[in-house]
């Protein structure tokens, strides 16, 4: 009897040991975890969509990064001090405007898609090769776009190509040079362009809001222009011209590019819909009562009825006069090009952020042509956009600098407040081994308090000062990062 007791006890203990490992595998009762995710093509698409959404939610940042240090914007009384410091070129690494978190969040989403899409294909039998390639192509596109912004803002950045899935990942990635980043980006884009859907989506929103073949071409052209590879620019722009999907809007319909948006001219636009609570940031930034940002003096001179003969793109379209000497930016708050009908209700927040449109790539082409000496063709394109804006054709002396200035001015008129200006100026400053950098410095110091203009003009001859510093806390967190030398003191 006694023995039986003992044995039963020992048996009992042994039995429990066998059962324990299964028992310990306890999954969270609520919430989605990796173990349950990456099972179907819908999961892949959902993360891709999150990347788009995140990028779209950066529209306020994209606006500022493209305009703040340029010459078309003027900060109002409510301008946050961190943004005022940037505009006045009083830039320190502790300014959290320099935080690049959203870009890398987007990049991580794309990396997840790129890594997991092939794995999901092994699980989901309905996930076709074609679909996989096209989703991956979109992810490559977004990642490339994010890196293109990053190098234009920070010059050298960590090139992260693997998703941060587990704590075994390498989080401490050093900086890569601009050309390393862009080389990788261009290879990706070229490789996946053929898989990009082209007009293949069922809705116009998707066709404009997701990466299509023309979007790939536009980005490739933009990168090529940034790297002064003019033949490449022409090659990519021609592909868009030949696609037959994209045309210039007519002059009278120019404002429809912004309201309702998704026009025939649009190539890639981040989609907003106030009704779905997907609200843009540009309305809040430019609406009349926010006192954040107004057109600069230069802008009112460029567009104002009193000074300029811009009718299509001028007062009541790009900007609007709401009082004596009181202008606001109209592209994101107006319903019609009349300077009076404000967007209302949920419509207020529904204006898309246009990343690329046809006029943009056409002017890229003109710039490339003029830089390679094909002035007549360049002039034809320039005048085509002027004609659309109901302006007289221009006659320009056939030299590269004159064309550069003319195109720069045309771009300012056409794309004011679309987040292009600063990057255009940067490109100008960088061209031909910084031969015209004074023109850029002139623009930067125009925003600076007068007592600092002289010293800054000297300091900014160092092109590194044109880029933002890496945010202080990021430097502290990643010991493999070096600060932009301009900001090391």
């Amino acid at each position: 009897m006694k023995l039986k007791v003992k044995y039963s006890v020992i048996l009992f203990i042994l039995l429990m040991q066998i059962s324990c490992n299964n028992w310990l595998e306890s999954l969270p009762p609520n919430g989605l975890i990796r173990e349950e995710f990456w099972q179907s093509k819908e999961d892949v698409e959902a993360v891709l969509m999150a990347a788009y959404e995140l990028f779209a939610s950066m529209d306020r940042t994209l606006f500022l990064q493209g305009e703040l240090r340029g010459d078309l914007l003027f900060g109002g009384s409510n301008q946050p001090s961190r943004e005022r410091s940037i505009a006045e070129n009083n830039i320190y690494p502790d300014n959290n405007y320099c935080d690049w978190t959203p870009y890398y969040k987007i990049i991580n989403h794309c990396n997840e898609v790129i890594k997991n899409a092939p794995l999901v294909q092994g699980i989901d039998n309905t996930f076709t090769d074609f679909r996989k390639q096209s989703l991956m192509a979109e992810a490559y596109f977004i990642r490339s776009l994010a890196y293109f912004y990053l190098v234009r803002i920070y010059n050298e950045v960590p090139l992260v190509l693997e998703p941060s899935e587990t704590d075994n990942s390498d989080f401490y990635i050093p900086k890569s040079t601009e050309s390393e980043v862009l080389n990788k980006v261009v290879i990706d884009l070229k490789q996946y362009r053929e898989f990009a859907p082209s007009g293949g989506f069922s809705t116009i929103i998707e066709n404009k809001g997701r990466a299509s073949k023309p979007a790939f071409d536009a980005l490739l052209a933009d990168i090529a222009l940034w790297r002064f590879e003019y033949d490449e620019v022409l090659e990519h722009v021609e592909k868009i011209e030949n696609s037959g999907e994209i045309e210039l809007m007519k002059g009278g319909e120019w404002f429809q590019i912004f309201n309702p948006g998704n026009s025939i001219e649009g190539i890639f636009e981040f989609q907003f819909d106030g009704n779905l609570n997907q609200r843009n940031g540009t309305f809040g930034l430019t609406q009349r009562f926010s006192n954040l940002y107004f057109p600069s003096q230069k802008a009112t001179e460029m567009f104002g009825k009193e000074n300029a003969n811009e009718l299509v793109r001028g007062e009541n379209a790009s900007i609007a006069k709401i009082g004596e000497d009181d202008f606001i930016i109209w592209k994101y708050v107006g319903q019609f090009p009349d300077g009076q009908s404000f967007r209302s209700g949920n419509d207020q927040y529904s204006c898309n952020w246009i990343v690329y449109r046809y006029a943009d790539v056409l002017l890229m082409k003109a710039e490339a042509l003029s830089q390679t000496g094909r002035y007549a063709e360049a002039l034809a394109i320039l005048n085509k956009t002027r004609e659309r804006a109901n302006l007289q054709p221009k006659n320009i002396v056939f030299n590269a600098a004159a064309f550069e200035d003319a195109i720069m001015e045309e771009r300012a008129l056409e794309f004011a407040y679309e987040g292009k200006r600063w990057f255009d100026l940067l490109r100008l400053g960088r061209r031909n081994n910084f031969s015209r950098k004074n023109k850029l410095i002139e623009v930067i110091i125009s925003n600076v308090p007068s007592n600092q203009k002289r010293i800054l003009a000297v300091k900014l001859t160092n092109p590194l000062g044109w880029y933002l510093p890496i945010y202080e806390s990021e430097i502290e967190r990643n010991k493999n990062l070096n600060q932009n030398q301009y900001y090391e003191f």
Binding site: K2, M16, C20, L24, E45, H109, P163, D167
Partner: protein, 1073 residues
Amino acid sequence: MNLKKIYLICFLLLGIIVTSIAQQNTIIRGRVVDKADKTTIIGANIVEYDSEDRVVNGTITDVNGDFVLQMINQSNTVRVRVIGYNTEVVKVDPLKVSIIEIESSDVALGEVTVIAESRSVNSLTNIDDRDKASSSVKVDLMDMQEVGVISAADALQGKISGLDIISASGDPGSGSQIVIRGLSSMGNNQPLIVIDGIPQFRISQSFDLSSADSEDISNLINIALQDIKSIEVLKDAASTAIYGSQGADGVLLIETKKGRMGKVQFDYQYKASLNIQPPPIPMLNGDEYITLQLKEWHNSDAIYKIPPEIAYDKDYADFFNYSANTNWINEITKNGNIQDHYFSVSGGGEKTRFFTSFSYINEEGTTINTESKRFSTNINLDYFLSRNLLFQIKFNYIKNEINGNISIRGRNIREMAYIKAPNMSIWEYDLVGLPTGEYFTPITSYQGNGTTYFNPVAVANLGRDGRLENHFRNTFMLQYRLNDWLIFRETASFQSQGTKNKSFLPYNAIGADWLNYQINLSKATSRVNQGIHTETQVAFTSPFKNEDHQLSGAITWVTDRSGYQWMNIQSAKNPSVDIQVPSISGQVAYIATNSGEGKMVSGLGNVNYKYLDRYLVQTILRADAHSSFGENNRWGLFKGISLGWRFSSEDFLSSLDFLGESMLRVSWGVAGRQPNDVYARFATYESTGTGSYTFNPAISPISIQLDRLMWETITSYNIGAELNLFKDRLYLEGDIYYKITSDILFKDYSLPVSSGFNVLKYFNGGQMTNTGWELMADARLIRTNDLLVSVNFNASQNINSFKKLPENFNAERSTSIGNGQYPQRVVEGEPIGSFFGFRYLGVWASDKDVVAKDVDGNVLKDSYGNKLPLQYADSYIFKGGDPIYDDINHDGKIDLNDVVYLGDSNPKFIGGFGTTVKFKNFDFSANFHYRLKFDIINGVAIQTEGMNNRNNQSKAVLRRWRVEGQNEPGMLPRAYMNHPANNLGSDRYVEKGDYLRLNNVKVSYELNKNLCNKIGVRKANLTLSARKLFTLTNYSGQDPEVSQDASNPFWIGVDNARTPPPKVYTLSLAVGF
């Protein structure tokens, strides 16, 4: 695998097999007589104990005082127990009728208790307390019951070396923070509480932070003090390894009272206490405040328009509301009181023993509208089914109802009372100065908007923040003696803790318009934690009958599962102040809910070997597997070995008469800790903000999978000695320890954001050490029949230091500098909880004195030869009357580069001492508690001595700099509205917190035995006691016992005007029948 089923089968098997087992019988006979008058004693208990001191058999004497006992095992001990007499051991001699003389135990009751203790055995390790070679201390709480403390933590304060206990706050129902041998990890450092062998909940995992505060978490030992028999503190890892992954922060073993064989005893105790707040920091009155404000404006702007609230303008509509002299602190402070009723019944016979108690405590706090009502009941039942089978039930239920004051935007009413403008009145007056009967709560006042600067009296009286806790524990234990050296034990314990928080802030308590989200804001949180704990144990003692070798040990299998659920609802702008729950769906502003469960299985074994009663070896090995880890790192191995040498038993020392039982011991052990969040290791995905893009669903990854997550391990080394000298007159115990925490669990570890994430939920890395020594001394100076005088003393020192930080660790936790802000850093070699900031050197006497100096002390000059003044960052040039900060790097600028280490919040020495004097029926005792060499950031002073905003300031600012050239010792900087740098985080507010406090003092009178008999009571006792009667300290704040909230390990030890622990005067009356 269905565990329950297995249990059931096992129980059934046991039930069938339980039969009496043939034994060698020994019969002893005898008679029990009183030693003094030789009368026979009827009804004395003759009890047989086995080698582990378990009752196995017993009988009682008949009318002649005779007994016959058939012993189960001849080697067992037999004792005679009668109430009122000392216990006597019976010599087992079956051939003789023994006459046992027993002695009345009037005086030496205390000593009896000691003997009883020394024979008790830890249930998990199966070691006699006497033989324990690891570091632990056991305290008898019997003495503390009359004193006006209501929690066990309060009772232990200052009593045990190495144990640091700090009250979280003086408000009713708030708990204490307990740290054993220094902070050893990041975040919460509370020890594991084990009540009668059952580990209690740790802080509930992943609860909703929007509602919980540190007091909530710290309320650990929630059990009636009178129910506790003793508390044992396990300090080194050799002893805590037995609790494996839960033992990292030390363990408190609490033993509750059990029934004893004998007559049924009734005990009733009533305690009434009066609680009095220590005097507050004196604040400016209304007139002084206005003068100060005017000066602040004058200094900053020179030309200014005086705001009407401080302009003494009779025509101003609110003139009467702004011309008061309100002492806000006094208005929210009152005397508190405690009513404590305790009733217990205990007793038992041969088969059953029971102990049951009821306790009701009603405490009113020293801040208006704070109270706590606690009801608790405790039942311990032992049932001897047969000689070999014991069944035990423990049941414990506690209901705790706590009402407190609501904090608004993180500011409690006491903090508010300190800074609220004293020229504002509590009640609103109309234009002509007649009271309107409403609280004065303007939407905007001179100080700011009405929700940030609320009326603390109105919020205290109209708002409420209540918490209701229901806690029950139920434990079943079955013990079966397989043979004379093997015992099987099965324990199953259930615990459930439900907490409900409700708060409400009515519109009339704050100044806000109807659109403000704080208007009629109500919050409700409910939280339930449940746990099931089982233990299956086979314990053994020496199977071989050899006096020289003794072997014992146990093999135990533990399973533990604990789950939590919580839900939080908030609604704002409820339409009526009578709708105080978030029940209107339209107004619900926030809902959150979560649940989860953690599971653990462990196997542990320990072997204890003793040779010649002198050489002791104890080993522990425990393996834990917890569900919060992935399969790879799931098993953690914890171990300990302790060696003891009872040198006093050596022959060559036997000639030393003064030497009592003494021991040297050495131990080494490894314990661990698991993360609080059981699901942290999973990578999670969530819907994005809007959930879609272009009408397609969008899902984001939001956390990183933790494949490397593992146990934090604590390795400790301990060398100790226990000395008993001069026939138990002097007892000394000393320990030296070294404790290394490695693979520290860092919660929310910062990552470079280029990873796409901001933090890792947990990261293991780095090393922290705690080194220290402890000393306890207990001397019985006089020991006669009538007089007993004893003194005790303990001291300990702990030095904490970060030995190694993880690679890539971001040591800068916060780099912000500015008024009232301290940068937060971690530095290798410095302790956790260090303060960093500027060095404050006084006040510039005049403008021309303000110069910057280089390293050699020469004045810095610009290229034109002008003296360069010292400036703050790039923004401000210091002037006369501004504070002098040390320009550490001599660059002429006060900025982040001038930040230095200023001190830390870890006390270097802690301890206490006390004395007990017993004279006839009087009993006097006093206990002191001290903490030395630690720093406090006086957060109240930052708020009330800065003079750069509209907050009320303390009377200290009357010593401020006023005129050019003024230079007096101890003067404060000038008043200056919105000064950018006159109140920077500096050592100006880092104060020495050292204190010595008379923690408890008590006088009690025990009614004479004879008198008791006459009036028919067993005992009666009257006690007067006082708690925290006086404190010696140089700290300028209200109380140096500042809550050690370690939830932010980089910001510990800041005095934020929590209610300080009050002085408590208690009258206690205890009667037993």
